[in-house]
């Protein structure tokens, strides 16, 4: 039991339950399964993005360009759809993944081959990708009316009681769980974050692995691009502007250490869920939306403080043993 409580995910989950309980006292319908399903669906995109960011942060890197990638890819698929409504949605999704992959690979290449710190690379591509969106679209928006019904409805179709968007999130979560715990690349990602030097000696190619994680975050950004645009039915240059920090915030609340090596799929998902619940709940419990920013800021600080407490190394036990004896 004691070791069970050591997992920060359990604490985070408890926090979320408490949060839902608190909200329910002000708005009884909030804890209804139907409503919770909807909260999950509303948070799906953030969860997916947080997972993509997580693998990057685990390797002691950061990807600030995810939201710009999302914006660019979303615009590309929206324009494609507007121009050629006949292209089937699965093909569009594959295109979105591919475009995202290319953008991620550019980040990864610069980090890998030129050894530029990832924060600098992605700070640069953050503006480049969004700017390129403007160039590609000529600044024009793609509106709901220009999108094909399939494009919009795909993620909304219900499937065993859940919309496809939720299912996509569930599949992505499962995939990440599998990759991070059951595959060599997943374990290499952790190893690099824990100890890059030792990883080299263990035969892990650190540079190449970093390249791969940026490709992963790129693919995720691309996927989220399609999902975002078809969800909010408008593609513009301003889509998800500043959202990169929300993604990182979700990871931080989820207990993913910015110093790398520590964090789990469950943590990232719960961190995103936490933020999702807050943004969902504030309007319904009649707290002015102007409070939202301050609340999520406080939540981030609280989460970091608590995580740091948990990480703090306990002193040696020699003396305690000696005293007990």
């Amino acid at each position: 039991m004691k070791s069970f409580l050591k997992y920060r995910e359990i604490w985070l989950l408890a926090g979320i339950v408490v949060l839902i309980g608190l909200i329910s006292t002000r708005f009884p319908g909030f804890a209804d399964p139907a409503n919770l399903r909807q909260v999950f669906n509303d948070t799906s995109i953030l969860m997916i993005l947080a997972l993509g960011q997580m693998v990057v942060i685990l390797t002691r890197s950061i990807d600030l360009s995810m939201a710009s990638n999302l914006c660019f890819t979303g615009m590309v698929v929206a324009m494609l759809n507007a121009a050629h409504p006949a292209i089937p949605i699965p093909v569009l999704i594959v295109i979105a993944l591919a475009v995202g992959l290319v953008l991620g690979a550019i980040n990864g290449f610069l980090v890998w081959r030129l050894n530029i710190p990832s924060i600098v690379v992605t700070l640069g591509t953050l503006t480049i990708y969004r700017g390129t969106t403007f160039v590609v679209s000529g600044g024009a928006w793609v509106n709901a009316d220009q999108m094909s019904p399939d494009f919009i409805d795909f993620q909304r179709a219900a499937f065993f009681g859940l919309p496809v968007l939720s299912w996509i999130a569930i599949i992505v979560i499962a995939l990440f769980f599998l990759v991070m715990t059951r595959t060599a690349i997943g374990r290499s990602i952790y190893a690099i974050g824990v100890n890059p030097t030792a990883s080299v000696y263990a035969g892990i190619d650190v540079g190449r692995t970093k390249f791969i994680v940026f490709c992963i975050s790129g693919i995720i950004g691309g996927l989220a691009g399609y999902l975002w645009i078809s969800r909010y039915v408008i593609a513009s240059v301003e889509v998800a502007n500043g959202y990169e920090l929300n993604i990182i915030a979700a990871c931080v609340i989820g207990g993913i250490s910015i110093a790398g090596g520590i964090g789990s799929v469950g943590g990232a998902v719960l961190g995103a869920l936490f933020l999702g619940i807050i943004s969902n709940a504030l309007p319904v419990i009649n707290i002015s939306p102007f409070w939202q920013m301050a609340i999520s800021g406080s939540a981030i600080i609280l989460a970091v403080v608590l995580n740091a407490r948990g990480e703090r190394r306990q002193g040696r036990i020699i003396l305690r043993k000696a005293e007990a004896a």
Partner: protein, 513 residues
């Protein structure tokens, strides 16, 4: 060239078995530095070869070439008689070459089983990692090494340093390594743990592994190794069988000259107490520490690794907080809250970990030296470069620093020269008490003698020295008195007159006489 240089180069008494790994004519240069020049090395199955050389002789570079981290500029690598290349760490891994390093390079936040199997974990038929088999295999490997007490699911950071070494060896076993490189594996181990490690090495030998053993400690080398190779300044100066070669001969090969005695003779002039500590306690690290240090004295602190010696010293130096107790210097009570307070009072602490706690790589030599003395070399906060240079020069030249200029990045210096910068840095604060934590750890014999000579010089000038050391010869050879610590407490204090090693070891280990 020295006449002893190529002693035993050709040895007809080598065993008939073919070498597993041969390095022939390896050279490697870095911008401005020639790390290795035309060196050769052979490792034989079932034998331990000791690689001996001063710091900066090129040992680490060779290890990095053998593990695929560096590529040689020229030369040939042969495995089982086949010429091959090791373009990456992964390739070396594929050839069964594994290295266990001085500072254990494993993964603190991963489990023991994962540390053992990272990179070659057993797979399920879907290609995913088979955790169950992995744990089982990990337990088996640990059992065969008689290390079954280690929990395969424990996180590595919860293990002691000796157990971490065992995990590293288990890793070598698990990849079915055929060539095991041990780079100063005993540096941080206690005597008992070293014994266990030697048992393991015997086990590896009997298993037919080719072992390369790097150490500065001759007793260990003679205990465990079968043959030796000596490097000096990036060149191979000798090799042969240890049973045929005396210690003095090897030392001569290493340093290229005779080293008659290691410890300086001195006539201690001990005065009144300078530093007195009483009842010093810390919530978890140490308890009720009390001792006195007198003017002109070298006080040795002996104990097993983890006995709390460094923590006590760091508390006196203001780096670690204490819960109780008093420290007084020249009769005045002081309560240092930071290293700055201690330095101001006249107590300096030369830390054990040179790279992490000593030098500031990235800054030039003179800035490293002046760092703790900036208050003196600046005027109302404004830097005076001339002062800094003259301060840095006076101390580094006294220590015979080898550098092309004082503006050179300290990171470009060799380890021994970095240590000189570190010592110069603290001496430049004009201290009354200097605490040296493992001052000769990981440095070569030549530099060791220089440091010991310098310590003698310091006390002769009236300074007081505390020397924390885990090396018995050093403790016995240098100290005027010896404090032995065990499990966070002072076990005993001895006058170093007719003191024998056995007493110290027994006291440190808590074995009744």
């Amino acid at each position: 060239m020295d006449t002893t240089a190529h002693h035993g180069k050709v040895d007809e008494r080598l065993p008939a078995s073919a070498p597993r790994l041969t390095l022939t004519g390896i050279s490697k240069s870095f911008p401005g530095v020639r790390a290795l020049h035309n060196v050769s090395l052979s490792l034989y199955p079932g034998q331990v070869t000791a690689l001996i050389g001063e710091n900066g002789a090129g040992k680490s570079t060779l290890v990095k070439i053998m593990t695929g981290i560096y590529q040689p500029d020229s030369g040939e690598i042969g495995i089982d008689g086949q010429v091959t290349t090791l373009p990456s760490a992964h390739a070396a891994f594929g050839h069964g070459i594994t290295a266990i390093h001085q500072e254990t390079v494993l993964f603190d936040d991963l489990s023991v089983a994962e540390n053992i199997f990272l990179g070659h974990a057993p797979r399920t038929r879907f290609g995913t990692i088979d955790w169950r088999t992995m744990r089982k295999n990990a337990r088996e490997v640990l059992e065969t090494m008689r290390a079954g007490h280690i929990d395969a699911d424990a996180r590595l950071k919860d293990l002691g340093i000796a157990n971490k070494h065992l995990v590293a060896v288990a890793r070598a076993m698990s990849i079915d390594a055929r060539i095991v490189i041990m780079d100063e594996p005993t540096a941080a181990l206690s005597m008992k743990e070293i014994e266990e490690l030697f048992l393991l090495i015997e086990f590896l030998k009997s298993d037919g592994k080719a072992v390369l053993f790097i150490s500065h400690k001759f007793d260990e080398i003679y205990r465990i190794a079968d043959r030796y190779t000596v490097f000096r300044d990036g060149e191979m100066v000798g090799e042969g069988l240890l049973k045929d070669t005396g210690q003095n001969e090897i030392v001569r090969m290493m340093v290229g000259r005779n080293v008659d005695h290691i410890f300086p003779q001195r006539e201690p002039k001990i005065g009144a107490p300078v530093l007195s500590v009483s009842g010093l306690s810390h919530p978890t690290e140490f308890d009720d520490i009390g001792f006195e240090l007198r003017k002109g004295e070298i006080l040795g602190f002996y104990g097993l690794v983890g006995a709390g010696r460094s923590e006590v010293m760091q508390a006196i130096a203001g780096i670690t907080r204490t819960s109780r107790g008093t420290i007084s210097l020249d009769g005045t009570s002081i309560a240092p809250k930071s290293a700055a307070d201690s330095i101001e009072a006249g107590i300096v602490y030369v830390p054990e970990e040179r790279g992490k706690q000593g030098v500031v790589i990235g800054l030039p030599i003179f800035q490293n030296v002046s760092l703790p003395s900036l208050a003196r070399t600046s005027k109302s906060g404004v830097l005076r470069l001339a002062e800094e240079f003259s301060l840095a020069r006076s101390y580094t030249e006294r220590l015979d620093l080898r550098a092309s200029s004082l503006s050179q990045d300290v990171g470009t210096l060799s380890g021994g020269n970095q240590q000189k910068v570190v010592i110069a840095k603290w001496l430049a604060t004009a201290p009354k008490v200097i605490i040296l934590d493992e001052p000769t750890k990981g440095i070569d014999i030549g530099s060791k003698a220089a440091v010991h000579g310098f310590m003698a010089e310091l006390v002769a000038q009236g300074l007081s020295v505390i020397m924390v050391s885990s090396e018995l010869p050093e403790i016995l050879g240098m100290s005027d008195r010896v404090v032995v610590m065990r499990e966070g407490r002072i076990a005993a204090t001895y006058d170093n007159k007719g003191l024998d090693a056995e007493t110290l070891v027994r006291t440190a280990a808590g074995i009744a006489a």
